[in-house]
């Protein structure tokens, strides 16, 4: 009889299921400790005693389960605090917790923003392993956004949380500048997916401006970049989230269709306009004017033209993206190596690089390297076309979106761009009155 079936106590079941993993972990640690050194150590005449070799402990799987559980719990708490409790203070406390745990304790990894690349790599590179944890870090915030809006951004994402706490004297960014810079996250998303899918690099992780702070060390450039983001973030709230975050693109799309979303007022809006400038991110949308500012016919004609031009924008974008395929392909280490070897052999490079030296010392033939590089370049040709077409589509949709008049009765946050931080709630007199009651 299966002992697992006969035991009805849930705790025993869980314990017995965890036990093999614990044993494996202990066994691995023991094996690691007793493993012979890979290279023989030199003998010194002076009688020097080599220090005992130490091996890092194997990370227990339970830690990853804890991460997932805490992520789920934090998103649930953020959604509750933003939508139900409407507590800005609670969100702030949760923000501090996220910075402390997901940021400093877990050192900013795994994060949902970077998980885009893991998923992209797994889709296009069959040999790329992705753990369940990474998949859940990718999916959970997206699913929660479909139900509750971008509550993940409000106080759970460690990157956003770090910027949120330094947003002390935010100024309004011109909407015109926002239109231009607002395209960057789409480009970043497309480039990150392209580079991950081609096995080139994970640029989101490489250029994460805050990871060096979470890890208390990092390359000078990255530390400087993070410092710049935080300093700018004092005045331009959440610059990374608004103008760079690729994950925010996905959240923004889903948030438009969310079942529920944070509202400024808990009840009926009294049109007091007190919340107009409350949002440091410029996400509050005003009620529609009573009279149409331009002729409907003009607007319809413009909309029709933009819809008609959309396919052209996609094709033009694809073509432009295709032109950038070659420069982009050089990011891949194999293509870069071929270029380096070609430069060395053609006399353009004064000396060889470590990579080319290692290649020459290997058994791989130059023809095989060229073939690999050719295959990578052809993937970039296709990928760059798709990236360009995607950007063309985004630009076209933006133009169309700016031409569509939405009827709004109340002051409400823009569902796509609102981070559900809850700052606006404190400005609403209806909310305050309800709170006092």
């Amino acid at each position: 009889m299966n002992p697992f079936c006969s035991i009805e106590n849930t705790r025993w079941k869980i314990g017995l299921r965890v036990l093999p993993y614990l044993c494996a972990g202990i066994l691995l640690a023991a094996l690691s400790a007793s493993a012979a050194p890979r290279f023989p150590q030199p003998d010194f005449d002076t009688g020097y005693t080599h220090p005992q070799q130490e091996y890092p402990a194997t990370e227990v799987q339970a830690v990853e389960y804890l991460d997932i559980a805490l992520l789920f719990g934090a998103i649930a708490a953020a959604s509750y605090l933003a939508l139900k409790k409407r507590s800005r203070r609670g969100l702030l406390i949760l923000t501090v917790f996220s910075i402390a745990y997901f940021g400093f304790w877990r050192k900013g990894c795994v994060c949902s923003v970077g998980s885009i690349q893991n998923v992209a790599a797994a889709l296009f590179y069959p040999f790329s392993p992705v753990s369940v944890t990474v998949y859940l870090f990718f999916i959970l915030p997206l699913v929660s956004t479909l139900f509750f809006g971008r509550t993940f951004c409000s106080s759970v994402c460690p990157l956003g949380a770090a910027q949120d706490v330094v947003a002390l004297r935010p100024v309004r960014v011109s909407p015109l500048v926002e239109q231009v810079f607002g395209l960057i996250p789409y480009v970043y998303l497309g480039a990150a997916v392209l580079l991950a899918a081609t096995g080139s690099t994970f640029i989101i992780c490489r250029f994460d401006p805050f990871v060096s702070f979470f890890r208390l060390s990092g390359p000078v450039l990255l530390v400087s970049l993070g410092a710049v983001f935080l300093l700018v973030g004092i005045f331009i709230a959440r610059p990374y989230c608004r103008f760079f975050c690729p994950y925010g693109v996905l959240l923004g799309w889903l948030s438009r269709f969310s079942r529920r979303h944070l509202t400024i007022t808990p009840d009926e809006c009294v049109q007091c306009r007190l919340c107009e400038d409350s949002c440091p991110f410029g996400c509050i949308r005003k009620p529609s004017p009573e009279s149409e500012p331009e002729e409907r016919r003009t607007g319809v004609r413009r909309l029709g033209m933009l819809i008609g031009v959309l396919p052209l924008l996609i094709v033009a974008g694809g073509w432009a993206g295709g032109q950038a395929a070659e420069p982009l392909s050089r990011i891949h280490r194999t293509v870069a190596l071929v270029e380096q070897i070609g430069a060395e052999e053609g006399g353009a490079a004064p000396e060889s690089s470590l990579q080319s030296d290692v290649f020459r010392a290997s058994d791989k033939s130059i023809l095989m390297l060229y073939s690999e590089a050719e295959a990578i370049r052809s993937r970039f040709s296709i990928g760059s076309w798709i990236l360009g077409a995607f950007i063309g589509l985004v630009v076209g949709c933006r133009l169309i979106g700016l031409s569509i008049r939405r009827t709004r009765v109340d002051y409400e946050p823009d569902r796509a761009s609102c981070f559900s931080c809850g700052r606006c709630m404190d400005y609403c007199p209806v909310g305050r009155k309800k709170e006092q009651r």
Binding site: R89, V96, F104, V165, V166, L168, L176, V177, Q179, V180, F181, L183, V187, F213, L216, S217, V220, R273, L274, C275, D277, S278, P289, S291, P293, E294, A316, G317, A320, Q323, A324, E326, P327, L328, S329, R330, G342, E344, E345, G346, G347, E351, S352, S356, R360, S365, I366, L367, Y370, A373, E374, R377, G388, G392, V395, R398, L399, L402, D426, Y427
Partner: protein, 567 residues
């Protein structure tokens, strides 16, 4: 909750913010200073320590060595103290920033919100803003497209791999259109080891018959070479090309064929991918045993390091690369050969054979072929069989024929063994390969790779056989010269000379030239009967093969290059 700026809580929070801000700024300044210190005081790059360590090593001064160790320990302690300081500083800064931000947030919360309705924006201003937004969105899109085009423009295009494989500019047969001398030019010069196509025969020259270095008769000029080498001369037009090399340097020389003046010397120097340490070579081989290959525009040399260098006829480097660092007991000796815009090189060493075909102009690999073989020192030859130019390579255990254009192995015959140094010969669609302790085989590739005939006597060990006009001539280091009928293998005659032969015999017109290790060249009538028609001597050791162009011959001895013929 709101509060005034004068409330106790707000003031406390403000005070804490100020103090923590000052603390953070102080720690940041100290960390920046510490970072500068770390980057400047890297113990691995200390010039003082390096100089002292070198001095202690050269002078073998134990006391100085001890001082160096103490100084090194001090520098390392200082470095790691700075690193530890940086780590501590990071924690302090983080804590300071946390306190600073918490105090600022507390101030904000205590101050509370003060809503301001904001400026009223009338409807037509909102319309103008909408138009501006659309314009900016379009500007953003155009800007991104422009960025993509700029990126494409500023980056020079990568060479297409068809170009690198030599198929960039294609002729009608789909091959790269590169410079290639005419057959007439090839046969009028001595472009590589053993002359045109590497077969040891030349139809055109009117070679000299007699010379004597002691009396000067028939010696046009004699020059001393800067460095030793066992490469044979290659000649194109009025230029003679040689290599020399030792542990100090490896060089290519260009000498005026008319006067013997040194035109230029090219020091190979450092080549990308080349070995850091020179491979071990025997004294009999040295670092410059492979003969140069030239097509009149490019001069290509390879050395024992595996470094291949191409220069133009003025001595300027065109390209250089390391093919492979040869690993064999004597050192690399196989000479490259140029044909149809490609230079071919064989490296047979302990890891097997690698056959390279490179674009002559760029050095880029056109094709590469690898095979499991034993180390060999033989040079390849180019033979046209069945309308196809083939690269013939002698090896252990197989003699192979590759299609020169793409490296396809067309045939191979396993008939060799031992340390194969002789290069193949060819005549009347037969390929001749031989080696001491193996056999002399006449291979007919057209007849299913059959060995048409073979013999195991008077086999060569270093010198390569030569075949022409229906006859095969073989010389070995024991002094034996043997004549065969090439199609049947019938031995016509053999003669034992006083000294052995390392130099390969050469058939010039209707004469056979063979040079022994004492520097005596015997000019024999080629054909069925032995008849001496001339003799020349340079009076010093000769192990290289003679080169013939026009009415002159070029002989490399142990330390000199001679030009013999009519002055």
């Amino acid at each position: 909750m709101t509060s005034s700026k004068k409330s106790v809580g707000y003031r406390c929070a403000a005070a804490v913010a100020i103090v923590s801000c000052v603390f953070c700024l102080t720690v940041t300044t100290l960390m920046i200073a510490n970072y500068v210190l770390i980057t400047r005081a890297n113990p691995l790059e200390s010039p003082v320590l390096t100089e002292l360590a070198e001095k202690a090593g050269k002078e073998r001064d134990a006391a100085l060595a001890e001082d160096v160790r103490d100084l090194d320990l001090m520098v390392r302690r200082a470095f790691f103290s700075s690193v530890a300081f940086a780590g501590t500083g990071a924690y302090l800064l983080t804590a300071g920033l946390a306190v600073f931000l918490i105090s600022l947030q507390s101030m904000g919360m205590l101050w509370g919100v003060h809503p301001d309705p904001g400026k009223y924006i009338p409807d037509d201003e909102g319309l103008a803003e909408e138009k501006a937004k659309r314009r900016m969105a379009a500007v953003g899109g155009v800007g991104l497209a422009a960025l993509a085009l700029v990126l494409a423009a500023i980056y020079l295009p990568l060479p297409s791999y068809d170009d690198l494989r030599g198929n960039g500019q294609n002729d009608t047969a789909g091959r790269a259109v590169v410079y290639s001398p005419s057959v007439d030019e090839i046969e009028s010069n001595w472009p590589s080891f053993r002359g045109p196509y590497g077969l040891g025969t030349a139809l055109r020259p009117e070679a000299p018959l007699k010379w004597d270095a002691a009396s000067g008769a028939g010696i046009v000029w004699k020059v001393k070479l800067a460095r030793t080498g066992f490469s044979s001369p290659a000649v194109w037009g009025d230029r003679v090309f040689l290599t020399g090399g030792d542990k100090e340097a490896r060089e290519i020389y260009c000498i005026d064929a008319a006067t013997g003046d040194l035109v230029w010397t090219h020091d190979v120097g450092v080549v990308p991918g080349g070995p850091d340490k020179l491979p071990e070579v025997s004294e009999d081989t040295g670092y410059a045993a492979a003969t140069v290959a030239t097509d009149g525009r490019h001069v290509i040399a390879i050395f024992a390091t595996g470094n291949m260098v191409c220069v133009d006829t003025s001595g300027s480097r065109l390209w250089a690369r390391n093919l492979k660092i040869p690993d064999n007991i004597y050192g690399h000796a196989s000479s490259p050969i140029i044909h149809d815009g490609m230079v071919y090189a064989v490296i047979d060493d302990s890891s097997g054979r690698t056959l390279f075909a490179l674009n002559v102009s760029t050095g880029a690999t056109v094709w590469e072929n690898s095979k499991a073989t034993e180390p060999c020192w033989s040079s390849p030859a180019i033979v046209k069989l069945g309308g196809v130019y083939q690269l013939i390579a002698n090896g252990n255990p197989e003699v192979c024929g590759y299609r020169a254009s793409d490296g396809n192995l067309l045939w191979s015959v396993a008939c060799m063994t031992g340390e194969v140094a002789p290069s193949p010969a060819a005549d009347s669609n037969l390929i001749f390969a031989a080696n001491e302790y193996a056999i002399m085989a006449a291979i007919d590739p057209a007849a299913g790779n059959k060995v048409k005939w073979q013999t195991d006597s008077d086999l060569p060990d270093v010198s390569s056989p030569v075949a022409a006009g229906g006859f095969l001539y073989v010389a070995n280091s024991h002094g034996m010269v043997t004549w065969y009928q090439s199609d049947t293998g019938t031995k016509l005659w053999s003669k034992e000379f006083d000294d052995g032969f390392y130099s390969s015999p050469v058939v010039i017109g209707d004469r056979l030239y063979i040079t022994d290790m004492s520097g005596n060249t015997f000019v024999l009538a080629a054909g069925g009967k032995y008849r001496e028609e001339g003799r020349g001597t340079v009076g010093e050791s000769v192990v290289t093969t003679l080169a013939f162009v026009g009415s002159r011959a070029f002989i490399r001895s142990a330390g000199h290059l001679y030009c013999v013929g009519v002055k």
